[in-house]
């Protein structure tokens, strides 16, 4: 009798742990999905933090090119922290600035990356065609 109770107790615990794990995973996936969803809503989407100066530079860069980007300020979003984690996972370790995650740019729903990637594309001459393709720029 006692052993049965114990077994059931373990089973309940295991089930609880598993469901917790599944909830966390779904939350992350939710955030990933949310990020993806937000990213495909406009031609150019910038995930930013309002106090971040590099984000300010990114916004000015696109505005200077005549693009009107959609900006999501993560510090003004209740789920901002989770979204930041999701973005970090998407970026990997490729960027120069490893401290800050933002700014992150999506063009045409596809991930471009941080400021260094954007600058590399712009200097290389591939940013403008990408923007035109996404419909963010007209001649």
């Amino acid at each position: 009798m006692f052993q049965e109770k114990k077994r059931m107790h373990y089973q309940v615990e295991a089930a609880a742990a598993w469901s917790y794990y599944m909830r966390v995973r779904s939350m992350e996936e939710d955030q990933m999905e949310r990020v993806a969803r937000l990213a495909s809503q406009s031609a150019v989407v910038i995930f930013s933090v309002s106090s971040c100066c590099m984000c300010h530079a990114m916004k000015r860069l696109f505005c200077g090119m005549g693009v009107n980007p959609t900006v999501h300020e993560l510090d003004h979003d209740p789920q901002g922290k989770d979204m930041e984690t999701a973005l970090m996972r998407l970026l990997g370790n490729g960027s120069i600035n490893t401290n800050a995650v933002v700014p992150v740019v999506f063009i045409g729903g596809k991930l471009v990356g941080s400021m260094d990637r954007v600058l590399a594309f712009h200097i290389g001459g591939t940013l403008v065609p990408l923007l035109k393709q996404a419909g963010a720029l007209w001649l």
Binding site: A57, L61, G125
Partner: protein, 369 residues
């Protein structure tokens, strides 16, 4: 000659065999006093003793000649003595003068050597000196090893850069092969990559030092933009020096100019915002002590953000150079790299000329008239 024999006698009696030793002694007192008068007095002091000694020998030989010739002989001998002594004095004066001039010559040579050494040390030490000037020896008094290393490496980088310039110039003048030019261009590009790597390390060590341009020559600092040159400025230096460009190249360069300008403007605006937020974070009321820690922590974050900007600026510079090398042919790339190297070399030369001018009061300036 009478005078030389008397002189030898005198010298032997004084117990000094080397006449020049005497002269050097006088030369030494010359140095201390710098006037002939001080020499004259020991001479005067010696004169009476010399007179006594010269008196001894002639008198002994004259005695048996008789009294009626005494007065004439005495007058003669006095005159002769005086003449001899005058000759002596003149001769010694000439020797002293010769020794003095010799000393001046050797000092002049020494001075030139020292000046050369200082110039050499200054070229190395100028970077270190400017680091000391910029107050980060300041409060803690500790030297930042990362920055010291950067300065040493940068000094070596400059020397090697000058060598690259020479090689490029020779290769272009002697119409070297495509392969040779390609190799030179590649080594020059990797040399610049080394610089960016060094700068990245220096940024981690002390971003404020790097962004101040203290490590650059004074005239170079005139063109400073976020710890280095403006990419658009680099294009302005390179493009006029190139061989006739194809239409496609002209278009590409125009696009490159535009995009680098836009990127520069964006980074500059971001940096402006950073500067503003840094100032706003500093507490305006010095009496408010309590929140200082919080503001300092915020200021530290801004320092990290500044690192990001310098890194992005360097990244932009590197990308511009890279893309330029892709647009151009090998020959054009060699010309462009030489033009750039020459330009910075001239800025550095101008800087050292300018500092010589301001430190040398005899250099003719506008204000001296």
């Amino acid at each position: 000659m009478n005078s030389s024999s008397t002189q030898l006698v005198l010298v032997k009696r004084m117990g000094i065999y080397d006449p020049f030793h005497q002269v050097n002694m006088w030369g030494d007192s010359f140095k201390i006093d710098g006037s002939l008068n001080s020499i004259a007095s020991p001479m005067l002091m010696m004169k009476p003793s010399m007179e006594n000694k010269t008196d001894c020998t002639p008198n002994e030989s004259r005695e048996p000649s008789g009294d009626d010739r005494d007065t004439n002989d005495k007058a003669d001998s006095k005159a002769q003595r005086r003449l001899a002594q005058n000759r002596e004095a003149a001769r010694k004066c000439r020797l002293r003068k010769k020794a003095y001039v010799q000393q001046l010559e050797t000092s002049r040579v020494k001075l030139m050597q020292l000046e050369l050494e200082i110039e050499k040390a200054r070229k190395q030490g100028l970077y270190i000196r400017s680091a000391v000037d910029v107050s980060y020896m300041g409060s803690s008094g500790t030297i930042n090893p990362g920055i010291t290393l950067f300065e040493l490496e940068y000094g070596q980088w400059i020397e090697e850069q000058d060598r690259h310039n020479e090689e490029l110039r020779n290769a272009l003048q002697t119409h070297a092969s495509e392969m040779q030019l390609h190799l030179l261009v590649e080594s020059c590009m990797s040399h610049y990559s080394n610089l960016f790597r060094m700068k990245a390390d220096a940024v981690k060590a002390d971003v404020f030092y790097l962004i101040s341009g203290a490590w650059k020559a004074s005239v170079e600092r005139l063109f400073l933009w976020i710890g280095g040159s403006r990419p658009s400025q680099l294009l302005n230096i390179i493009v006029p020096q190139l061989e006739p460009l194809t239409d496609q190249q002209i278009v590409s360069i125009k696009h490159l100019r535009l995009s680098s300008q836009q990127a520069e403007d964006a980074l500059s605006l971001g940096l402006d915002k950073l500067q503003q937020s840094l100032v706003l974070n500093i507490p305006s009321d010095p009496l408010v002590v309590g929140h200082y820690g919080f503001e300092m922590a915020a200021a530290m974050d801004k320092g990290e953000a500044l690192e990001g900007f310098v890194n992005q600026a360097d990244h932009l510079r590197q990308q511009t150079l890279l893309h330029m090398s892709r647009i151009l042919t090998t020959g054009q790339a060699a010309q462009g790299l030489l033009a750039m190297g020459e330009y910075f070399h001239r800025l550095r030369t101008l800087s050292s000329l300018w500092s010589d001018r301001s430190s040398d009061p005899s250099f003719p300036t506008q204000h001296s008239n």
